[in-house]
Subunit: 550 residues, 2 copies
C-alpha cells in the first residue's frame, strides 16, 4: 500500500461505502425538536470545483525540498493540497463541502526519516516558511488550518512515510512507534503478537500515533487503558532548533517531566517523530455489561462509586435521557424499542439512561469487578439487561462521524464538544451546558437537540461529551456554528471545567485558554516555544498562539 | 503548637530520643566489608559553635518585611538561621555537624497567607533578594542551600504558617491543602473522617504537602496510591511575577498540562501555596505478605509479573541479598536469624532476597490480588513466611534516617541514591551501579557495603534504591562523598536510567540533567522560568539553573 495516499475522502469522514441513512426513529426525534429541512440536498461540490489559495512556495525553496526528498515526495497537485487543507471539524466540513477553502498548504512534504524531518524544519526556518504537521487529518479543533500569517509560505509535513513499528520490549511492555503509524496498523501488529495498546479514539481507523501524542488523545477504553499522556514513556521531537530526545523511563522526579510538555504540544513546538508507549498483554477476557437507570443522577452516582471503589471498568459510557433515546432510535427497530420500553416501565424506568460497561483482564478478577459493579448499579436502581447493548455499541463505535456527513447533506448540522470536571460539579454542569446550548440555538431560530454522555471516569471526576443537532442556517452556517461553540465553551470554562477533555485545543479552543489556564502560564509556554521555534513557524495560530477570539 | 518551631533537630534527622544503636549483626557485617573506625566518636558541635555567613539583609528590606509580616515573623536569630540553612543530605550533615555552614539565609520569613507570599516575592524581586522556599527541610539533594550568587541577600520563606486544610470534597475525593501542612497532621485529619492520602515518603513525619508537590515526591505506598504528580488536580503558585492558579480538573487535553510544570519545579518558578490532591477512602483491609527468593532475579521477575498482570500491590519492596542480610541483622536477633536461615536453606534458599507486599482495598478484591501474587511468587521459587516481615518493616519504616546519624557519630558515612528504568534494563543496571560504587570506594581505600531494593513498580519498569556505607575519610569527607555520588550518578545516566526517581534534583543532581534531558529542554525550562521570575531570584542554583558540576 502506498502510505502517502490519504485514507479519508477529501470532503468528509472516512471512506465511501459506510454512510448509512438516518433511521426513522432518529429522524422523528430530530424533526420533533429541530424541525426537518424540506427537500434539502446539499452534497459536497466536485473536487475540481474546490477553490484553494494560490501556491506561493518560492521556487528556490521548492528546489531545496526536491533535493532533500526527491520531487515525488514534494506534492502540490490539487487533490493533495485539498486533502491536507483541513481537519474534520464542522467549519472544516462546511468549507470543504462548499468548495470554499481559505487555508491550504502550498505543498505537502513526505519525509521518510527523523533526519529528513530535522532537515525540513531547518530549511523552513531558514526560508521563513510556516509548517503544519499532518498525521491522519482527523482534528476537530482546527488543528490543521494552514495559517500563513506573514510567512513566505505554509507547507504541510505529512508523517505518512514514518510508518515503522520497532523495539517491541516484551519484558517492559512498551513499543516504540514512528509518528505516522495508523491505529489499525499498530493494533493489528501488536495483537498478532499477543499485545494491545488499547487506544481507541473514535478516529481510531484514520488517526496516527503521532497525532494521538501531539493532541493528548484519549480513547474509548482510556478509563481502563489510560490516556495517551499516561502511556508515553519516551519520545523524540524534531524542532526547528534541533531534535529533543527523551529517554524511556517509567517515572522520574528530575524536575517537571519534559515528556508532559511535548505530549499535547499540537505541533507548536516541533514534530513528534516517534514515541515509546505502554502496551498490555491481550486480556484473557472482556466482559460486557449494561444497565438502564431511571435518571442521569443515579447512573452518574453509580459510575462514581464504581471508579472510587477501585472496580475500574475499562469502558464506561453513560448516556443521558436524550442520547439514550436517540441511540436506541438510530440502532434498534421500533418493535425492539417498544418491547424494551415496556420492560423498563414495568421496573419503574420511564425515561431510561443507558450505561454500557466492559471489564477486561484475568477472568477471575474481571468477574469480581463486574460483580462489584453490579451491586452498585442495583443499589442505584439500575435495571440490568445483560451485555448486548455494550456489544452493539462497540460494533458501531467508529461509525457515528459518518452520520454527521449524511445529516449535513440533508441540511442538519451535527457538532460534538466535550469537557471534564470534578464529580461534585458534574450534574449541575451537565444541565448548565445543555441549557446554554439550547437557549442560544433557540434564540437563533434553530432549536437544538442536545445529547450527552459520560465517556471517561477518574476518581476525582469525569468527562461530559455533547452531541448537538440543529437545522443549518443557510448561508450563515459559520456564524451559527460560532454562536453554538461560544455558548458551550463559555458554559464550560465559566463553571470551572476544562475547555477540552480529549479533542485538544487547535485554533478553535484557543480563545478560552487564558481564562482556564491564565495568561502567565501561556507566556511561559510561548517562551518555552521560542527556544525551539524562534521564528514561530510551527503550526501558527494554534494552542498558545491561537486567536484570542473565534 | 507553635508551627514556626522547626520539627527536626538542627544537626540531624528528626527528633531526639529516637536514636538506636547499630545492632551487633549489622555492625559485624559493616566491619567485615568496610572495617570499623577505631574509637571514633564524632558528635555534632554545639549549636553556638556553628559558624554562619554574615547576615547581609539591608535594613530597608528588613523594614519592609517587618511591616508586612510583623517583626515576630521576620527572624534572624542564630538558631532559626541554622535550622533553615540546610536539608538533610550527607553534605548537609557533614557541614552542620562540623559547624562549618557556608550557606544560610539572612532571615527566615513566615507569611500567613497567599497574599503575604505574593507580596513577599514582589518585595524580593524589587530588592533583588534571592528566595529559598522551605517546607519541612528534609531535602537530600541540596534543594535548600541558600546560594546568594550576586543577589543582595538570600532569605528563606517558611511555609509553616500556611497550615490549613480546607475544601474536603467527599464526593470528588479531593482535598485542598495549604503548602505548610505536615504529613502526620494531614493524614490524621483525613483518617478521622474516613479518608487517607496514602502518601508516606520516608520523610513523612517531617515533610509538608508543599514540599511533596514541589519535589515530585513518591511515598512508600505510591505503587498503589500514586506518586504526588499523579495526585495533584489543581494548585496555586505565587511567583515573583504574580500568582498562577490552576483550577481543579481530573484531566484535560488543553495543551501541555500546566500542573505538570509546577509539580517538580522545586521552588525555582515560585512558591506553591496550596494544592488540591486526590484522596481515597480508608481501605476496608490491608493484607500484608512476605516472601524470600533465592536471588534478586527471581524476585524482580515475580514483581514484574504481578504489576503487569494487574495485581498491583500497594506496597512492594524487594531487597537484594545484601540489604536482606543487613535488614535481618539490624532488626532481628541472632537466634531468630539462625532459625530463619535454616528454614530457608532447607527450601533451597541460601542467600535470600526479602520481598514485602501489601494489598489494600475491599476484602474480596485484596484477597484475590494477594492470591494472584502468591501464585506468581511460588512460580518463581519464592518461599512464603506469612505477613509478619511486612508488618515489622512497616513498624520501622520511618526510622532508618536515625541510623545514619548514629553511624556518622561512629565514623561511618551512610548515603542513599535512587533511580528508575525499564524492566528490561533493571538487572544489569542493578549490578552496574553496585559495581561502580564498590570500585570507586575501594580505590579510595574506603570499601563500601552496598544495599539495594526495588521500591516502586510500574508496568514499564521499576525504581532501584541504594544504601551505601563506608568509613568516613577523615578531613576529606566532601571529596569522598563527591566521588561516591559521581560514580553512582554516572552509572545511572550513562545506562539509560533517570538521575532520580523520587529524591528530586536540587543542586546535587543538576549536573546530570543535560545528559538525561538534553540542553534544549533545559533552555525551554529556563525560558519558561524567566517569564515568572525574570530576575532569577527563586531558589538559585537548583534544577535547571544548577551547577554544571558538583
Amino acid at each position: 500500500m502506498d502510505n502517502t495516499q490519504p485514507r479519508m475522502r477529501w470532503w468528509g469522514w472516512g471512506e465511501d461505502g459506510n454512510d448509512g441513512p438516518v433511521e426513522p426513529g432518529a429522524k422523528k426525534m430530530l424533526t420533533e425538536t429541530c424541525g426537518w429541512p424540506k427537500g434539502a440536498n446539499r452534497p459536497p461540490v466536485e473536487l475540481d470545483a474546490v477553490e484553494l489559495p494560490d501556491d506561493d512556495l518560492p521556487d528556490d525553496s521548492r528546489a531545496r525540498f526536491d533535493e532533500l526528498l526527491g520531487a515525488e515526495f514534494v506534492r502540490s497537485d490539487h487533490a493533495t493540497r485539498v486533502s491536507h487543507a483541513a481537519g474534520r471539524s464542522v467549519p472544516d466540513l462546511i468549507r470543504l463541502r462548499s468548495g470554499d477553502v481559505p487555508f491550504a498548504p502550498d505543498v505537502v512534504l513526505y519525509p521518510a526519516s527523523d533526519a529528513e524531518v530535522d532537515e525540513l524544519l531547518a530549511i523552513c526556518r531558514q526560508e521563513r516558511i510556516a509548517v503544519v504537521p499532518f498525521g491522519g487529518g482527523t482534528s476537530v479543533v482546527a488543528g490543521l488550518d494552514a495559517f500563513r500569517r506573514d510567512f513566505r509560505s505554509c507547507v504541510c509535513i505529512s508523517l505518512a512515510r514514518l510508518d515503522e513499528i520497532f523495539d517491541l520490549d516484551e519484558e517492559s511492555l512498551t513499543v516504540t512507534v514512528q509518528a505516522g503509524v495508523f491505529g489499525p496498523d499498530l493494533e493489528k501488529n501488536l495483537q498478532a503478537k499477543g499485545f494491545t495498546l488499547g487506544h481507541f479514539p473514535q478516529s481510531f481507523e484514520f488517526s496516527t500515533v503521532g497525532g494521538w501524542v501531539a493532541t493528548r488523545s484519549a480513547g474509548q477504553q482510556s478509563t481502563g487503558y489510560g490516556r495517551i499522556d499516561e502511556n508515553v514513556f519516551g519520545l523524540r521531537c524534531s524542532t526547528p532548533n534541533g531534535p529533543v530526545e527523551l529517554r524511556t523511563i517509567p517515572a522520574t522526579a528530575a524536575g517537571p517531566n519534559p515528556r508532559q510538555m511535548f505530549v499535547g504540544s499540537e505541533g507548536t513546538l516541533g514534530i513528534i517523530t516517534q514515541a515509546t508507549l505502554r502496551i498490555k498483554r491481550r486480556p484473557e477476557t472482556t466482559l460486557p455489561d449494561a444497565w438502564f437507570f431511571p435518571d442521569f443522577h443515579s447512573g452518574a452516582t453509580a459510575l462514581r462509586e464504581m471508579e472510587q471503589d477501585g472496580l475500574h471498568p475499562d469502558i464506561a459510557r453513560l448516556s443521558d435521557v436524550n442520547e439514550t433515546e436517540f441511540g436506541l432510535a438510530q440502532l434498534g427497530s421500533a418493535v425492539q424499542r417498544k418491547g424494551l420500553n415496556a420492560y423498563l416501565r414495568a421496573r419503574g424506568v420511564a425515561k431510561p439512561c443507558l450505561l454500557v460497561l466492559r471489564y477486561d483482564g484475568r477472568k477471575s478478577a474481571a468477574r469480581l469487578r463486574r460483580a462489584g459493579g453490579r451491586e452498585i448499579a442495583k443499589a442505584h436502581k439500575g435495571v440490568s439487561i445483560g451485555g448486548s447493548p455494550e456489544t452493539m455499541w462497540e460494533k458501531h463505535r467508529f461509525s457515528t462521524p459518518y452520520l454527521r456527513d449524511q445529516l449535513m447533506t440533508e441540511g442538519i448540522m451535527a457538532e460534538t464538544m466535550e469537557t471534564a470536571a470534578p464529580w461534585s460539579a458534574i450534574e449541575q454542569l451537565h444541565d448548565t451546558i445543555k441549557r446554554e446550548i439550547e437557549t442560544t440555538m433557540a434564540e437563533r431560530g434553530t432549536p437544538a437537540l442536545v445529547l450527552c454522555h459520560v465517556s471517561h471516569l477518574y476518581t476525582a471526576g469525569c468527562s461530559l461529551y455533547y452531541t448537538v443537532f440543529a437545522q443549518q442556517h443557510d448561508g450563515h452556517e459559520m456564524e451559527q456554528w460560532k454562536a453554538l461553540k461560544t455558548a458551550a465553551c463559555d458554559a464550560m470554562v465559566d463553571n470551572g471545567a476544562t475547555i477540552t477533555h480529549h479533542h485538544s485545543t487547535g485554533a478553535d479552543h484557543a480563545p478560552w485558554l487564558p481564562q482556564e489556564q491564565g495568561e502567565l502560564w501561556l507566556r511561559m509556554l510561548r517562551a518555552a516555544k521560542a527556544e525551539v521555534d524562534p521564528e514561530g513557524i510551527m503550526n501558527p495560530g494554534k494552542l498558545m498562539n491561537g486567536p484570542t477570539q473565534l
